[in-house]
């Protein structure tokens, strides 16, 4: 791979141009919305469009935050955090059992989990709506948390059982001989070494539930139960011309997920690639 120096620096320059071009293509829609959300009303629909917001204003954000939007943020946060907790608790035990025990019907169970991973969200919406209306739990946090965690559970169980399998069983066996219970071995020995996997599962669950739209749209009806994506969707259909407020809401909705993602990115990527290469 030794190429002459001059051609190498030329290649290097090309690479930088390429990197910049790809970055711009990816970010253009985000930057344009960010720019719009910071513009004063008269500038938003100006012809020809101004690329940069000047004068800069926060009035769009102020308008959104004094309307119903904070409530949507709270709803989304409650649903996403609770779903992540439920998914982690459930998939730790199911994943551990699948990784370490042999029992009748295990292959049927694994097949069921794979089927669950193959089911699209859309296929579950009608039945879940019917189920919710029969139990009269529509329009509550409970039904949203149930629906979200049920939808992510197969992936989480599958991922964690793969992860547990990659941890050598000798440590647990030693602890069992020393008189610990199975549960004790799981909580005190396996879980600490599976921490990156647990971070991945909770992050994926959180991001999925935060962004989830169709279940939240169908399973809730009152204005006070709306999650962020549903709120923005209804903004789009109800006030389709107020681009300043809409883009501000969009930008605000990205911030929590992006912050969490950037913060935990390292864990997330490691866990995800481990899951994708061994777990499947």
């Amino acid at each position: 791979m030794n190429r002459p120096r001059s051609s190498r620096s030329w290649v290097g320059a090309c690479r930088w141009v390429g990197v910049a071009a790809v970055g711009v293509i990816i970010l253009t829609p985000f930057l344009w919305s960010l720019s719009t959300s910071l513009k004063v009303k008269d500038d938003i629909l100006r012809m020809p469009p101004k690329l940069f917001p000047w004068p800069v204003t926060l009035e769009n954000y102020h308008g959104i935050l004094t309307a119903g939007f904070p409530r949507y943020l709270v709803n989304s946060a409650i649903v996403a955090v609770c779903s992540a907790v439920v998914v982690v608790l459930v998939s730790i035990h199911a994943g551990y059992a699948a990784a370490r025990y042999e029992f009748r019907g295990k292959s049927a169970m694994l097949f069921l989990i794979l089927t669950g991973m193959a089911m699209g969200e859309l296929s579950t919406v009608l039945p879940l709506y019917f189920f919710g209306s029969q139990l009269r739990i529509l329009d509550t946090y409970g039904v949203l948390i149930l629906a979200n965690s049920a939808f992510i559970a197969p992936l989480a169980i599958w991922f964690l059982q793969g992860y547990f399998r990659s941890i050598p069983p000798q440590m647990e066996e030693a602890a069992l001989i020393d008189g610990t219970t199975r549960a004790g071995a799981l909580y005190r020995i396996v879980l600490p070494s599976a921490l990156p996997g647990l971070v991945t599962v909770s992050l994926v669950s959180f991001i999925h539930s935060w962004n989830e739209f169709i279940l939240a749209l169908v399973l809730t009806s009152s204005g006070t139960m709306r999650t962020v994506p549903v709120g923005i969707h209804l903004f789009l259909t109800d006030y389709g011309v107020e681009w300043g407020s809409i883009t501000a809401a969009g930008i605000l909705s990205i911030v929590p997920v992006l912050a969490l993602f950037l913060l935990l990115q390292r864990h997330f990527l490691r866990g995800l690639t481990a899951g994708a290469t061994t777990g499947f």
Binding site: M1, R15, V19, V22, G23, I26, L27, P29, W32, S33, I44, P49, V90, S91, A94, A97, M109, L112, I113, T115, G116, A118, M119, G120, E121, L122, S123, V125, L126, P127, L128, F130, L146, A150, F151, P154, I157, I207, N211, F213, I214, V228, P229, I232, H233, L236, W243, I246, T247, S253, I254, V257, L258, L262, Q265, L269, T273, A276, T277, F280
Partner: protein, 277 residues
């Protein structure tokens, strides 16, 4: 264990039984009026709009998955070395993937909106005519497909990077010494070695693209003239706008059938792959 299994049953067996049950009934919202056998399916098969839905979905999924995989592989080859710039770009490519689709749809709608689009003002400066692809029956579906590929590229990039990191350096060095050009190395060495992970990537994407709902709903709303109404959007409309639960259940089963068939093929291929090793 048990709660986990219950949750899984809740999104597998229950929806399938539910859909099978309702798809053979004439319904009034959720009330079952009469057993009609395969009537709902027969009516769907004879419905030209359903044919359009199927063709739209096929285009959206096949072209979309192809684009996403190609973008992911190209970027992965490009960003393989761990440098500062590459890490930043990798993070940027992942941003659309962690953003919710309602917001992605609204951003693209605002960007491509004919009158106030910055793209059109730039095109205008260059003396070119403006574009408004979302209101064109010809351009709307390719645009939707591209936007979706743009969204999912982060995912395929991650998988491809993981696949590349598993290829030993010696393999490429050997090809290099044998005098294979960069393109030949990619075509004859790298792509074949990436086959298992590409398969994982392609099947996961196919299933998720078949089931997409928000992006078409908010970006084009299925229009203009149903030219972007994919199968999943039709299902949503039958279920929650027209309340034809029978028809919606029949479409659900078509979708679930496609999903399961693809996963089965995928599973078989992975098995075969493992067998040959």
């Amino acid at each position: 264990m048990a709660p986990g299994l219950l949750l899984v049953l809740f999104v597998t067996l229950y929806p399938i039984v539910f859909a099978v049950n309702y798809s053979v009934m004439r319904t009034q919202v959720f009330k079952q009026l009469a057993f009609v056998g395969l009537d709902n399916y027969v009516r769907l098969l004879a419905d030209p709009r359903f044919h359009t839905n199927l063709l739209n979905s096929l285009f959206f999924v096949l072209v979309g998955v192809g684009l996403t995989w190609t973008f992911g592989l190209a970027l992965a080859l490009f960003l393989r070395r761990q440098t500062w710039g590459n890490t930043v770009l990798k993070t940027i490519v992942l941003v659309p993937w962690v953003t919710n689709q309602v917001v992605l749809a609204l951003m693209w709608k605002w960007l491509l909106n004919g009158d106030f689009s910055p793209i059109n003002s730039l095109l205008g400066l260059a003396g070119l005519p403006g574009v408004n692809p979302l209101i064109s029956t010809v351009q709307a579906l390719p645009t939707l497909t591209f936007v979706n590929a743009w969204r999912a590229t982060g995912f395929s990039l991650l998988l491809m990077l993981a696949g590349l990191s598993a290829i030993p350096v010696e393999v490429e060095e050997a090809a290099d010494i044998d005098g294979a050009s960069r393109w030949k190395q990619i075509w004859y060495v790298i792509i074949p070695l990436l086959k298992p992970i590409s398969l994982a990537c392609v099947i996961t994407l196919t299933i998720s693209f078949f089931n997409i709902i928000v992006l078409p709903l908010d970006l084009t709303g299925g229009g203009p003239l149903n030219s972007t109404e994919v199968l999943s959007l039709r299902l949503y409309r039958e279920g929650f706008q027209y309340y034809n639960i029978g028809t919606a259940s029949a479409i659900t089963l078509v979708l679930v059938g496609l999903d399961l068939l693809l996963s089965w093929v995928y599973f078989r291929m992975i098995r075969a792959e493992a067998y040959y090793r």
